[in-house]
Symmetry: C2
Amino acid sequence: MTSERDKVEPSCTVDEHGVESVRRPLVNEAALERASRLFRAIGEPSRLRLLSRLAQGEMCVTELAASEQESLSTISQRLRVLRSENLILRRRRGKHINYALADQHVMELVFNALAHATERPASSGHSNFEKENLP
Amino acid sequence: MTSERDKVEPSCTVDEHGVESVRRPLVNEAALERASRLFRAIGEPSRLRLLSRLAQGEMCVTELAASEQESLSTISQRLRVLRSENLILRRRRGKHINYALADQHVMELVFNALAHATERPASSGHSNFEKENLP
DNA sequence: TTTTCACTTGAACATATGTGCAAGTGTCGC
DNA sequence: GCGACACTTGCACATATGTTCAAGTGAAAA
């Protein structure tokens, strides 16, 4: 039997597709890792909701917990993840600790994501690609 | 003991922060869910690398497998996740099946993410927020 | 200083998710 | 049709991640 573990050479001739960009490193592996972690941090409904709250303005943990109907602990843990990816900033303000979106870039990310999710965008549709199952 | 399960009322007075945006639904829950799934799909180095490959132009599974030094099966599984979030399109082309980024929006997402990850961006830095640990 | 409030952190648990192999499906050429 | 090629899918396994409670920390009021 031909084992499937041959992760290397394809038996199809590459040039038949007119593509020469095979086997190129393309991007920094560390950058991929970092970008992925950032996306994963946003990629949880509870945390994305938190970000969308903060997009309205800075808030302290207690306020966030009240908004989300969750415990301080739960909110704090979520904030920790977001902060570890530098998506939010924190500062003390008297007894409280306030959080805010890190920068405008994060703000745009959040809004773009939600916009993209609310209205289902159609592709340019000028090729014979299919979005769903092909025969 | 005051149990921590009181997920509701904060004991801090909200108005002392001058914020009135507490306890508002803010966004559609379904949109949050969808946006999160999209981010999670991108938020894996292997899949993000795949997307960055496809940003160079459409490719068939075998080519992608060769580029990534992985088995067809593995690549196919990753493509399935990306496709389930409509990030990529597929079409038959003779014996092969070609994949491509779904639209320009996905292209920008990929490039922005990688750009954001390569050069560490500094925040606007006009407030007394702290990025790292506070005292 | 002691107490209280506001929050953080550690650890245990359940769930979700990526990976790899093996079997299945669909297309092309003979 | 039959076999080979190009993928896809189901399943089992390991790992990662979210959630929760309980204990810990730090600032501020008493």
